[in-house]
């Protein structure tokens, strides 16, 4: 599942299951590259959910999660943050982080 999520709805949306929160902006080039990688991941692993978090539309994200640049990813299992990555990482790096965050 992929949802565009505002900060006020973030906790309710990510409370159950495995979520990748993608902190991005519309005009960020690396965000668009990362989005392509995430699209493939979500398709191949449909149990992974993606929360697209636009930090310009919801600036409260920046302070709450200490976002210093885009793209930044948080990996959440049942609402608990299990991992974090910055930058447009390749698929292999994302998969390793997912494996650690999802299964311990």
């Amino acid at each position: 599942m992929t949802l565009f999520v505002e900060e006020k709805d973030f906790d309710a949306v990510t409370r159950e299951g495995f979520w990748i929160a993608d902190f991005m902006t519309d005009h960020c080039g690396p965000c668009k590259l990362l989005d392509m990688v995430l699209s493939e991941l979500i398709y191949d692993d449909p149990e992974i959910n993606l929360a697209k978090c636009d930090i310009e539309k919801s600036p409260a994200y920046v302070e709450r999660f200490g976002i210093s640049g885009t793209p930044t990813l948080l990996f959440l299992l049942d609402g608990e943050v299990k991992g974090r990555l910055s930058g447009a990482q390749p698929r292999e790096v994302l998969e390793e982080k997912i494996s650690q965050s999802m299964y311990g």
Binding site: S39, Y43, E47
Partner: protein
């Protein structure tokens, strides 16, 4: 431009490319047309994916989602419920392969890290993905780098083809250029060349912000630029000195590789976008070399 590459320095592009291709993480080939279309379609339908339960008699296949009860010594393999996509290897490749072909309710054991892990399939689901449509593309509200909204499946395919290919070429270019820059002997860049590049960038940013943001940055720079004592456009240009030096070196390297003279439209002092234009020519060169290999 007055700055020149050291006369003793010669660039064998194919040698550097070959060295890069020996790296394990190297990009060896660009994606095929089929792979690019598949990638575009995966992106378009990602919000419409449904995981439908499999009938009891249907065996699990790679790509199916299994909910398992697992018991083993390690906490990772001792859970009442764990959700796994079979065949992807994110949980445990050996266990996932063993479960492929099994049915809901089946139990099996495999040896993992020297101890038995027993898994029972509680649920099996299979991905159902619709065919991509123009309406799905419009719902994505995706746009190109220059702000053009994507409205059709065809436009989205073109966008992915362009972005994915360019990002891979840029990656190869980055590594190969970095290797050449590392091999470059120490060299001085002409101060007048550095100054002119700063003026070109000043003009470029002033025009860009006036056109896109309707802000005159000569009156006050964006907040995001204000760091390490930078308060004015002059400060900003001065702080970019290292970038202008790098730009001079990169342009000279690209011109050398392409066998082009540093004059007129290919001289970095002629207009702001020279480096970008040379880079695109290098991308074409990389593409042809990868295709030949």
């Amino acid at each position: 431009m007055r700055t020149k590459l050291p006369e003793s320095f010669s660039i064998d592009f194919d040698e550097y490319l070959g060295e890069y291709l020996e790296r394990p993480e190297a990009v060896h080939a660009l994606p095929s047309e089929e792979e690019l279309i598949a990638l575009a379609h995966k992106a378009i339908v990602r919000e419409q994916l449904v995981l439908a339960p499999l009938p009891e008699a249907t065996p699990a296949a790679a790509g199916d989602t299994a909910v398992l009860r697992v018991s083993g010594a390690a906490p990772r393999y001792n859970k009442e419920r764990v959700t796994v996509t079979l065949g992807r290897g994110l949980y445990n490749r050996r266990l996932e392969e063993a479960l492929t072909g099994c049915r809901r309710g089946d139990t099996l054991s495999v040896d993992i890290d020297g101890g038995p892990v027993t898994a029972t399939i509680l649920e099996l689901r299979r991905r159902q993905a619709p065919e991509p449509t123009d309406e799905m593309v419009q719902a994505l509200q995706a746009s190109t780098a220059d702000g053009r909204q994507l409205r059709t499946v065809r436009e989205y395919e073109d966008y992915i083809r362009q972005e994915k290919t360019m990002s891979m070429l840029a990656e190869v270019n980055y590594y190969v250029t970095s290797m050449i820059l590392e091999a470059l002997p120490p060299m001085d860049c002409d101060e007048e060349d550095i100054r002119v590049l700063g003026e070109l960038e000043r003009d470029y940013f002033v025009k860009l912000f006036l056109e896109t943001e309707h802000i005159d940055i000569r009156e006050g720079i964006p907040e995001a630029w204000k760091q390490d004592g930078i308060r004015t456009l002059d400060d900003f240009i001065r702080a970019r000195r290292d970038w202008y030096i790098l730009k001079i070196k990169q342009c000279l390297i690209f011109l050398d590789i392409l066998g082009l003279p540093c004059e007129g439209g290919t001289d970095p002092l002629d207009h702001y976008e020279v480096l970008q234009e040379l880079q695109l020519k290098i991308f074409d060169l990389i593409r042809s070399r990868l295709e030949r290999r």
